[in-house]
Subunit: 576 residues, 2 copies
């Protein structure tokens, strides 16, 4: 009890001086100059006055999920306007970027999770949390079919039905096996905390098994062959962590077999980390070669069997098999079954991913929002609305638009259609008015259409990252917090097809940079403005940013002490 | 790599000044006055000169187990005289006294384990460790049938056969269900690290399940009824930890259901903690009553079904059923199947536990030693040897023994038969000679027998505790280290039945005291010399002793930081 008192006191200090929070992290981690990335605000809680009664019945908001998007939403929501219920099979939030570190024991699983009840409690309000999985969304009746996530003998099936006024879908995605045979049976994944824990034990399993006297040398080599499929950030980081643990820890504890260990990284594309700058890809490839990690690009996996991975070279068509002891599958994501079923109900059955508009509202469905990895924003094309834009822009009665009129809607256009800005930047055009400069005389609808015809080529889907999900959650919570106010005083861009204004500004993603840890205290980072940073100092940037981004002071302390422990004592290879 | 260098340097300092090690622990924990209990020597490693060749073929010693006894043996053995192989299904040593703390998350599972390879590596030599379970000991052929402990798809069954010159059995024991129906299906245990992890998650499961909307109020009460069977130290500590987590953490995170939680402790005897001093039992019972833990003594469990525990009152014979959500079974230990099979082979089939002599050698079998919970020392009775003792003591040719002659063998008798000393103490006799004072005239064999006839009533089996196992491991290792020397210059007591001396002193247990944590920062301790200490200060003694006893500096740091974290942030209730 005293513990909480102490903690509460400290919290209060941080609430009063929020900047202290940043300072402490940075002084803990030692990356003083890297403050820019730390934007956590764990202690700016919203304290509702106890006993405050709502004037009318609150709307019931059900949130599905406790990942980045859902947690960010819950952290930013002022719940006194809503009755919030959360349904998720995991009763905790996991700091997923550290999962590859969990596989090697650099960081403990417990250090990267925080109970969702704890996160919300700190915000000063109670939510109803239900540890259950939503099996079916019935959008027509506004109800959810849920089932308890536990496999226990606590009795009953744990099934129940919930209704909602507003639904927030943030259930994330599942691993995409591309229907490759054998993957779901034999491969390991790296998506959930449990996956990481299982992987950690399986790596130790392999070395223990290889140390048994009954194993032949050939078998030993097979068992110690670790195959990673997918050269994205997760696969690359796992391969790097694995290499580190073998070189730094396993070699000391399993000296008789550690030299047989081999890591192979298979990537279907031409380069690993191909979503990053070329310099980063190249650096990673060179480093991996130097480390003895066997990098096979242009290599597609066709089948996984109990002891072999079958691959096909994309260029030559040549097939080969690799005997393995452990295979990790990390090639991308696919929608969960509950989402696929929901998409069919609302007429999105032909799409691959659930689509929302720019305000994160699910298309074809009222009062349902979707964010994070389970949805993509279906950015509206300029060309679809071109005549409506023309019509709204032109205030005179002629069929022509003059530049002055055009200038007045430019703000609304750039806000509503973010591809415009990207197009201007890419084609190095000074501003939108300049697009019309090529056309002489007055601008009619045809000229206008022609001038903007190339803009939609710059439409981009957002990456399925924690950063995007977290920003979407925060954005949506802020919209919810100002729902009533913005209903009366809309602040969004002009509605081109009808009249008036949108209630809110559409969601806009701000890219703060991305890391690719490469092992051996080397990290690459792609920062905003095409700035690339690689090496040992970037590792410290990484430590600093990740420590500051962690969800609570508890996890922050744990992760930092895990790093310290790894540095001092090495990693723990107990198989528990 | 640098990490190890830093660590190695620090280690060297502690090797040079071993007392520093104690100092640091105590200053970490803050229990300055409690130094007497800290006798760890983690850094007094024995460094063999590299390249030192053995002169003749080394004897092959196989150790079964990585628990207290085996690890203590390995830590104290100078392996340059032996070729050591270790077989155990667990590749780590677990600090079992902290397992009840793991169930509540006060301490993390990872913090109480240390890889056995790491422990041995620090001793400066390599052992062959095999992560496997010994399924059968074939003492006639001197071979072991083993099987890999893993359930993986690594290929092969992982079965193999090993031979040995000397076998050390330290496999521990398993839970004793007393054949009560339903226990192995429905009850949880608290014996291994996995048990503790599972228990932790199941406690959270119960609260999550009770929070679901589909559950009736009656069902909710059942799910939150925690039944602990067995009022020994483990059961009591688990009940206390459970009470703490409910009061301190659950009540904040599950406010709607936490008040329904109820803990019942069932004990077949008349008192809980009946192996301790009465004052401790009474204090514990009063504290539990105050805490609202339902204590039912004299209550035997007859059956466990999916949702109910059936009990029978020992006094009244009344039967009743208790609906439960979680039942923890902690009533005692029984031999493992491999030991039972081995006992049949060597003619111990009719015994309940594997018997060794006072030098820990298995009776009826050469070159096999057994220690820890898997065996008991079959203390030799004075009465069995009474005529041999008489014959050896008397040096004259008459049929009588004089007191001077008797005095000369007293040392050997008290060493060989520890019950003698206990008897003298209990019957308040000054010394052994005084035993003969009641008899007038010269002592013949009949009088001698009569004088010592009551001595054997004081024979006691050692308790199945970590402390006994650890002392046995250390004792045996020290015997092994001086095997050759003691073969030539025996140092043990006189052999009464044959001639000459025993090679070694028999094993003698030194009791350093025992703790019983009772929750709420209250601990009871029974210290040597019938000294009892109860209360808050004893909790600090407990912290101090346990921190100092931990097997490595890594685990020490982790456990201390776990305590700090619990104190500051509360316990983690994530279900992973």
């Amino acid at each position: 009890m005293r513990g909480y008192t102490f903690y509460a006191k400290v919290s209060r200090v941080f609430q009063t001086y929020p900047s202290l929070s940043k300072l402490l992290v940075v002084s803990t981690v030692g990356g003083g100059s890297l403050l820019a990335f730390s934007d956590d605000r764990p202690f700016q809680t919203v304290l509702n006055d106890a006993g405050q009664k709502p004037e009318c019945k609150k709307k019931k908001v059900v949130v599905l999920g406790t990942g980045w998007a859902a947690t960010s939403f819950l952290k930013n929501l002022k719940s006194d306007s809503y009755e919030v219920q959360v349904v998720s099979p995991r009763n905790y939030f996991a700091f997923t970027p550290l999962l590859p570190s969990v596989t090697s024991g650099t960081v403990e699983a417990r250090s990267v999770v925080e109970p969702i009840r704890n996160i919300v409690r700190k915000r000063g309000y109670q939510i109803d949390f239900m540890e259950a999985e939503c099996l079916k969304i019935d959008a027509s009746k506004k109800i959810l079919h849920c089932k308890s996530a536990q496999v226990t003998n606590l009795g009953g099936k744990g099934e129940f039905i919930m209704d909602y006024d507003i639904l927030i879908i943030a259930v994330g995605a599942q691993v995409n096996t591309f229907n490759t045979p054998g993957v779901s049976e034999y491969a390991h994944f790296l998506k959930e905390v449990e996956d990481a824990q299982k992987l950690r034990n399986t790596v130790i399993d392999c070395f223990e098994r290889a140390s048994l006297p009954s194993v032949s040398d050939e078998e030993r080599k097979r068992i110690l062959h670790f195959v990673v499929v997918g050269g994205g950030p997760v696969g690359v980081e796992f391969a790097a962590e694995l290499h580190d643990i073998v070189v730094q820890d396993i070699s000391k504890l399993y000296p008789s077999v550690s030299n047989l260990a081999k890591i192979t990284l298979l990537e279907a594309g031409d380069h690993i980390l191909n979503m990053y700058d070329k310099r980063i890809s190249q650096f990673a490839e060179t480093k991996f070669q130097r480390d003895g990690i066997d990098l096979k690009t242009g290599s597609m996996v066709t089948k996984v069997s109990e002891k072999d991975v079958s691959t096909k070279d994309r260029a030559t068509g040549q097939c080969s098999t690799l005997p393995y002891g452990l295979v990790v599958w990390s090639t991308g994501i696919a929608p969960r079954p509950v989402i696929l079923d929901f998409m069919k109900q609302i007429g999105q059955g032909s799409r691959r991913v659930l689509a929302t508009d720019e305000w994160l509202r699910v298309e074809g469905c009222d009062n349902v929002y979707a964010l994070g990895d389970c949805a993509t924003i279906n950015q509206r094309k300029v060309m679809e609305d071109i005549s409506a834009i023309f019509g709204q822009a032109k205030t005179n009665d002629t069929g022509h638009l003059n530049k002055q009129e055009f200038r007045e809607v430019i703000g609304d256009i750039t806000e509503r259609y973010p591809q415009v800005e990207l197009y201007l930047k890419k084609s190095k055009v000074k501003n939108m008015v300049a697009l019309l400069d090529n056309y002489e005389g007055e601008i009619d609808i045809e000229k206008f259409e022609k001038a903007l015809s190339e803009v939609d080529t710059q439409m981009k889907n957002l990456p399925a990252t924690a950063q995007v999900a977290a920003q979407q959650g925060e954005y949506l919570a802020k919209c919810f917090n100002r729902m009533e106010k913005c209903e009366m005083y809309p602040e969004g861009p002009r509605r081109f097809r009808t009249s008036g204004q949108h209630r809110f500004h559409p969601f806009r993603y701000k890219h703060f940079g991305q890391f690719a840890p490469l092992g051996g205290e080397q990290t690459a980072a792609q920062l905003p403005g095409d700035w690339v940073s690689i090496g040992h100092s970037t590792q410290w940037l990484w430590y600093s940013v990740y420590a500051s981004k962690l969800v609570s002071w508890r996890t922050r302390m744990l992760v930092v002490s895990d790093w310290f422990r790894r540095y001092t004592f090495g990693r723990d290879t107990s198989r528990i």
